[in-house]
């Protein structure tokens, strides 16, 4: 499979990108802060518990509600950074290579054009799978060893956060076959921002029981389903008691998207990738 040659090249090239390195650096800072923050949280909690027990008061809420909120915060950040990383990494993958002319030496080789697109997709997907895996592992091991807390369904959450990144990857790559690097960056970041805002609007709609707001959120999540998949992940990774305690909120949801939504998102990822392949197939270089 020639696509794997391109995948390997893309993976190596991705690691060299300054913006990607920037995100990795940011992630390391985040990880350090997260470990430290979790540690402070546990200390505070213990101090409070001790005080409360000394006063003979009963525990207001179980520990796991707060620990879960800490995990949720961590995963939300991972999800956000992964999205940014995806867009930074792939924004110019086709466009800037056409602009620079590096594709002129590749395309006339005995490789089909769609294999080039698929290879690039696989290369970035591998990079993202590793990145998200490491980050999720940092969050869960921190919760485990520092907070003595194990969030449920962490593998599903990992899969869904990866799905978010892969959808954005397909979207960014499709844009890259259609627009210049800069235009694509603007467009994809706008869509990504819109998805996040749409998710917030939906949560506000749920809290206020406002149908119009909820509907806006749903429409946005059909256009760009990234945020809805994150909310499903967040729903799964919290114990029910935490979900109920938090209610509608910026980081999660009380109404999880259905499995249909998951299939829709997977289809979205595949179809956009296929469109990118089809578009590149006919493009003059």
């Amino acid at each position: 499979m020639k696509a794997l040659v391109i995948a390997q090249l893309t993976f190596r090239e991705g690691l060299r990108k300054k913006l990607v390195l920037g995100v990795v650096l940011l992630s390391l800072i985040f990880a350090a802060l997260y470990v430290w923050g979790f540690h402070l949280f546990v200390q505070d909690w213990r101090a409070m518990e001790a005080r409360r027990q000394a006063q003979g008061a009963t525990t207001m809420l179980p520990y796991e509600v707060f620990a879960s909120a800490m995990v949720l915060l961590g995963l939300w950040t991972v999800n956000f950074l992964a999205g940014v990383m995806t867009i930074f990494a792939a924004v110019g993958t086709i466009a800037s290579e056409i602009e620079q002319g590096t594709l002129h030496g590749i395309v006339p080789k005995p490789i089909r054009r769609w294999e080039i697109v698929l290879g690039k997709w696989l290369g970035y997907a591998g990079m993202l799978a590793i990145y998200i895996g490491v980050m999720v592992a940092i969050v869960t091991t921190t919760a485990h060893f520092i907070g003595d807390y194990r969030p449920p369904n962490i593998l599903q959450a990992y899969g869904l956060i990866l799905l978010v990144a892969l959808m954005l990857l397909s979207l960014t790559m499709l844009g890259s076959t259609l627009f210049s690097t800069v235009a694509n960056g603007v467009i994809v970041f706008m869509l990504y921002g819109m998805a996040i805002t749409g998710g917030l609007v939906e949560q506000i709609g749920t809290a206020l029981d406002n149908d119009v707001l909820v509907r806006i959120g749903v429409i946005v999540s059909i256009l760009v389903p990234s945020d809805s998949m994150w909310r499903l992940a967040s729903y799964l990774v919290q114990p029910r008691i935490a979900v109920n305690f938090l209610g509608p909120n910026p980081f999660g949801t009380t109404v999880p998207p259905s499995s249909l939504a998951v299939w829709y998102s997977i289809g979205y990822m595949v179809v956009l990738l296929l469109l990118a392949m089809a578009r590149f197939q006919r493009r003059d270089l």
Binding site: Q100, G101, G105, V107, P110
Partner: protein, 318 residues
């Protein structure tokens, strides 16, 4: 050759019929029909903007023709099966310059489908061929422009192709590098490889090409074997003794006299239709008792032909 997938379906290495490419309202290639035989070194010439690069890009499948069709190694344009046996050096080559020369060739070898063993054998060979053995482990980014062009040529030869398409392979090379490329192309021809060469260096083309096409404004204005295109008319300089009256008039009937330098030893510059006419003229002079000190044929250069053809077109109304 490792893959024998391309049969001789057509008798030509390259064959195009009415290829046309329009960008917006700009016609880059108007109507290109040409054939390149197997084993030929073919020169593709034309002024800037004539459509040479556009034509080549259609041959290698980088852009789609607006109209027309073509076969390369017996396969339709853009068919990826022919590409195993095509080596191509793009005009504006930019490779993944964060790789070292060796890594870059390894990548391209993989794209050609060469096995690890083949790559291990072939990469040092082509590096040697283009004189980059020393620089193999340096990043391509640190190469000079000429070195980058050399690695581009190495990449084009990596798969031991049957057809090599070079779009201005020597534009950045020093005189030695140019000579190397010339020798390289000769060696390829000796191995039976077909070479399609875009170049502005007419003396170079003249030295190595068997056949040429000259294009202007996206159309072929001359096509044929180098020798017959350059043959055309002969320009001959005659160095003579004293000319009796009437000799010039008699000569005019056989050759066309362009210039006469009178004196003790007159010099004539004349144009003859062919070599027989020159012999006739000499015969006539000798019979008239004119001493003939020298008959110096001036070969018409490719440059003369190019300038003449392109200028003729320019003076024509569009």
């Amino acid at each position: 050759m490792t893959s024998g997938t391309t049969p001789h379906r057509s008798g030509w290495a390259i064959e195009t019929h009415g290829l046309r490419k329009v960008f917006g309202d700009r016609v880059a290639v108007a109507d290109l029909s040409l054939t390149v035989g197997y084993g030929e070194v073919f020169g593709f010439l034309g002024p800037n903007g004539a459509g040479k690069t556009t034509a080549v890009k259609m041959l290698v499948g980088l852009i789609r023709p607006t109209a027309g069709s073509g076969l390369v190694l017996g396969r339709p344009l853009g068919d990826h099966r022919a590409r195993r046996q095509i080596g191509y050096l793009p005009e504006l080559f930019r490779f993944h310059d964060w790789l070292t020369g060796e890594e870059l060739l390894d990548l391209h070898g993989q794209l050609y489908g060469l096995s690890r063993a083949e790559r291990r054998r072939r990469i040092p060979e082509v590096l040697e061929l283009v004189g980059l053995t020393e620089a193999a482990r340096r990043r391509v980014r640190t190469y000079s422009k000429g070195m980058q062009q050399r690695i581009g040529i190495a990449q084009a030869l990596l798969g031991s192709p049957r057809l090599v398409i070079l779009d201005e392979p020597t534009s950045a090379l020093d005189p030695l590098g140019r000579r190397d490329v010339r020798d390289l192309i000769r060696r390829l021809r000796d191995d039976g490889v077909t070479v399609f060469l875009n170049s502005h260096l007419l003396s170079e083309v003249e030295a190595i090409c068997d056949r040429i096409a000259i294009v202007n404004r996206g159309r072929v204005i001359a096509l044929g074997p180098m020798s017959s295109l350059l043959a055309g008319e002969l320009v001959v300089e005659f160095r003579l003794g004293a000319l009796p009256d009437g000799t010039l008039a008699a000569l005019e009937r056989v050759i066309q006299i362009d210039a006469v330098q009178h004196g003790e030893r007159p010099v004539l510059v004349a144009r003859a239709a062919d070599e027989a006419a020159v012999a006739q003229a000499v015969d006539l002079l000798v019979r008239a008792g004119v001493p003939v000190y020298g008959v110096i044929p001036e070969r018409r250069s490719l440059e003369d032909l190019f300038v003449q053809l392109v200028n003729e077109e320019r003076s024509e109304p569009r």
